[in-house]
């Protein structure tokens, strides 16, 4: 298969070139993020294409060039033939993927040394890239009670707008109330609580973004940040662990991280983080819905990288099964076309699902019983994109990986393979020649 050689050489050349040319935003972290993102995506997409082509070709060429006549008449069951082909493709995938993953990993690890990065850059890269950080988010606050009260209040005073439905009024009120919960007036304090905080490292991070009602002159605001035992911050009781308390100045509408020593975390892992809109500011500060997270190191970069590669492998196994299925009843060009179409759909599955549900509002029932299921059957490659975890150094946990593998390989790929085996066992192998 020359196509395999072409892909191989392409990757072998492109990966080191990428290592040099990917500069990102100029910092070491940016360079690393760009390289890993592009490198892994490129490897993934090329191997996906290769898997589709090879899995289809290996079966259809045997049928079209009729080598299968002498193979299938030997004491080989038809399912053994297909499983053998699948095994071969998967084995090739494993070898190529480990090769390229090793190259990407090596280049990534040696990039800081190679470019003589400064110490601050190295520290930043270590904290924000060469790590696998678990993220704790703040769930949306339940405001239904307040919404209900507000609605009744409006109803009593007959201020409800006539031309808007009940549903829309409730939705509007909910958004209003939730925004209020995330907004801090000048001098006001917002408190968030996080459970089960167990960092591996000496420090943890608060990642946040400010939105403001009125733009400050230099686009920067002051904020006083607290972190510590939730009982101390909530109720002012005695705290055994130290409490973080510092004022920072940050620009608005950008994500920032502040590093906090891990010693502030109490033994029971129940941490509270508080923010006070410093009186120096002259504006209300609002945190957007995804505007605050607590990040802490919970695994190494290497572990995360390996899991990301396994994620790609599960994708390849799925595609190999898809290719084998297509090749059991389609000729080479048609099977390729079908698989590429499905691959593209799977790669944009989020967009596809959203647009379908948007377009089909008016045909709700038909939609929910037909297209919805078909679309759900496709794997969602974009949802489990490994670069989504590696670039922001987010933890890709074993449980998430296991869930993804279970759905994509154990259920979806298995079903495809089963269909392939059934079709192949009952089809006529020989061509019709009279």
């Amino acid at each position: 298969m020359k196509v395999a050689a072409v892909f191989l050489i392409l990757l072998l050349v492109l990966l080191p070139v990428l290592g040099f040319s990917a500069t990102g935003d100029g910092t070491l972290k940016g360079r690393l993020q760009t390289f890993v993102s592009y490198g892994l995506s490129l490897t993934s997409i090329l191997l996906c294409l290769l898997t589709i082509i090879i899995s289809i070709y290996s079966v259809t060429s045997d049928i079209e060039q009729r080598q299968i006549y002498t193979v299938i008449t030997k004491p080989i069951r038809r399912f053994q033939f297909l499983l053998g082909k699948l095994l071969g493709v998967v084995l090739l995938d494993v070898i190529l993927l480990s090769l390229f993953a090793a190259i990407i990993y090596t280049i990534t690890i040696y990039t800081p040394q190679f470019f003589n990065a400064t110490e601050t850059e190295c520290i930043q890269a270590n904290n924000e890239f060469f790590t696998a950080r678990a993220a704790l988010n703040v769930p949306a606050v339940d405001v239904s009670q307040e919404v209900k009260e507000r609605y009744e209040q409006l109803e009593r005073s007959r201020e409800l707008p006539e031309d808007i439905s009940y549903k829309e009024i409730i939705a509007g009120l909910t958004a209003q109330q939730q925004l209020a919960k995330r907004a801090a007036d000048v001098g006001q304090v917002l408190v968030w609580e996080f459970n089960n905080v167990q960092p591996l490292d000496q420090s943890m991070f608060i990642k946040f973004k400010y939105d403001v009602a009125v733009n400050p002159p230099d686009m920067q605001v002051y904020g006083r940040w607290f972190a510590g035992d939730y009982q101390y911050i909530r109720y002012g009781t005695e705290s055994k662990t130290p409490v973080y308390d510092r004022i920072h100045k940050h620009s608005v509408r950008n994500f920032h991280e502040i590093e906090i020593p891990a010693e502030v975390i109490p033994e029971h892992g129940h941490l509270a983080v508080a923010f006070q809109n410093a009186p120096l500011n002259n504006t209300v500060i609002i945190f957007p819905p995804d505007g605050i997270e607590v990040l802490y190191k919970s695994d190494t970069f290497t572990g995360n990288f390996i899991r990301a590669v396994l994620l790609i492998l599960s994708r390849l196994i799925f595609l190999a099964c898809l290719g084998i299925l297509a090749s059991t009843f389609l000729s080479f060009p048609v099977a390729i076309l079908l698989c590429l179409f499905l691959f593209a759909t799977a790669s944009f599955s989020g967009f596809v699902i959203e647009s379908f549900s948007y377009l089909s509002v008016n045909i709700g029932i038909i939609y929910s019983y037909t297209i919805k299921w078909i679309v759900q059957l496709l794997p969602q490659f974009d949802k489990y994109n490994p670069t989504k975890f590696l670039v922001p150094a987010r933890l890709l946990s074993w449980s998430l990986l296991a869930r993804c593998v279970a759905v994509m390989v154990c259920i979806k790929a298995f079903l495809l393979l089963l269909a392939a085996l059934v079709i192949f066992s009952y089809r006529e192998i020989a061509k019709i020649i009279v």
Binding site: Q67, T70, K74, P75, R77, I429, I433, V434
Partner: protein, 422 residues
């Protein structure tokens, strides 16, 4: 049929086998095989004849499960053609050799050997024997994609024989082969039949079929038009032929007189040598004169494991460890010994039957018939082999080598170095 006195099973049996190729709308287009009832007995060489497009290949494909019959049923070795137990006893050579282009000859055979799960030692031994037999030893390390049609055909034949099959299905076995290869295949078929194997071949090369087949069926338009014993179909019972050594004109005149007394007509000529025999003689002579050619080397050898009279694998394995040159002389067949081990063979019963009934007239007893054919093998091809092996044993005993062996070795070496197109 004249032979249904015993309730023997057929090696291949079809019951109103029908294959209709229909178009996309499901309308019947072509009756490729039409209500075919075919019976091939064990230990029989059966020829399926017919012009192009008469349904020969389609029938074979249905037997092997590559196509599904539209109607009817096909039994092969008493079972289904897709059963792997049955498959392990079948050798199949398709109408063209479809090989994996990037494997070399030895790897190709190894691949097929592995599909049968043959143990390594036995596999290695058989591969070497088969490569030797089909004359591709010198080019065994060349990818088969670079092989000429005849060479690919030889590999195809070798792969069909690697499991020492009980039933050999050959689709146009001699296409693309030179006369020596053709002769060799015919000899092989006869040798296999001697060992109680069954051969089903389809061809439209009538000369080949006539030489080897016990029974034939002629297909046309998917239907059997004629079938029976080759001898019965072809023998002209109203004529007699006498062959003698070169005798004097006076004697001929006397004979003519005798025949005229019987009121019969007679013609006296010198018999013509068959072109095939003449060709093989010429090539054999050229081979002796060190002429080297690239590609396949035509030999008249037949793989030892295919001609050996025992089928027990243990004995095969024992022989593997023995030096090749001592392995075997082409031994005299002792067919009786094989019979209990092999699949049921009809001869003893037939013989008994003809003895009991006392009339050998309606159907010739098969063993006699076969012996006749064996003697028609060219003496030129058989004799040198025996001689060589004899000599090589002699050499081992005496420790000296004859000029002929040196010649052989040299020609083999030069062939190994030369890898042009065959």
């Amino acid at each position: 049929m004249s032979n249904n006195t015993t309730d023997m099973e057929y090696a291949v049996e079809t019951f109103s086998l029908t294959k209709i190729f229909s178009d996309w709308w499901g309308r019947a287009k072509v009756y490729a095989v039409d209500d075919l009832n075919l019976q091939v007995r064990y230990n029989e060489v059966f020829g399926l004849l017919g012009p192009n497009g008469s349904g020969k290949t389609t029938t074979l494909k249905m037997l092997l499960g590559l196509l599904h019959p539209t109607k009817g049923r096909a039994l092969i070795l008493g079972g289904d053609g897709t059963d792997s137990k049955i498959n392990s006893r079948i050798g199949f050579l398709p109408e063209e050799s479809y090989l994996y282009r990037y494997l070399n000859a030895r790897e190709t055979l190894d691949f097929y050997g592995r599909l049968f799960g043959l143990p390594t030692k036995l596999r290695k031994m058989r591969i070497e024997a088969l490569l030797d037999m089909v004359g591709l030893k010198a080019v065994a390390n060349r990818p088969v994609g670079t092989f000429s049609k005849g060479m690919a055909r030889r590999i195809g034949l070798a792969q069909a024989l690697i499991n020492d099959p009980d039933l050999l299905i050959l689709d146009e076995p001699t296409t693309g082969l030179d006369p020596i290869g053709t002769r060799q295949i015919k000899d092989l078929i006869l040798k296999l039949a001697e060992r109680g194997k069954t051969v089903l071949l389809c061809s439209h090369l009538l000369a080949d079929v006539e030489d080897v087949c016990d029974r034939i069926a002629i297909l046309y338009g998917g239907k059997i038009k004629n079938q029976g014993q080759v001898r019965d179909l072809l023998q002209q019972t109203n004529k007699r032929q006498i062959t003698t050594d070169a005798i004097s004109d006076i004697a001929i005149e006397k004979i003519k007189q005798l025949i005229q007394d019987e009121h019969a007509y007679c013609e006296v000529t010198s018999p013509m040598e068959k072109l095939e025999t003449f060709f093989i003689k010429t090539v054999a002579a050229a081979q002796q004169q060190l002429q080297t050619i690239s590609g396949a080397v035509s030999t008249t050898k037949i793989g030892d494991f295919l001609t050996r009279q025992t089928t027990s694998e243990d004995i095969l394995d024992k022989l593997v460890s023995a030096p090749v040159s001592q392995e075997s002389l082409p031994e005299s067949p002792i067919t009786e010994k094989v019979v209990p081990v092999e699949s049921p063979t009809p001869e003893p019963d037939e013989q008994l039957l003809s003895k009991l009934t006392g009339s050998a007239e309606p159907s010739e007893p098969e063993p006699v018939f076969r012996e006749e054919k064996v003697t028609t093998q060219p003496v030129e091809s058989e004799a040198p082999q025996v001689e060589q092996v004899n000599k090589s044993i002699l050499d081992q005993l005496t420790g000296r080598s004859t000029a002929q062996n040196e010649d052989e070795e040299q020609s083999n070496k030069s062939q190994a170095g030369d890898t042009g197109d065959g």
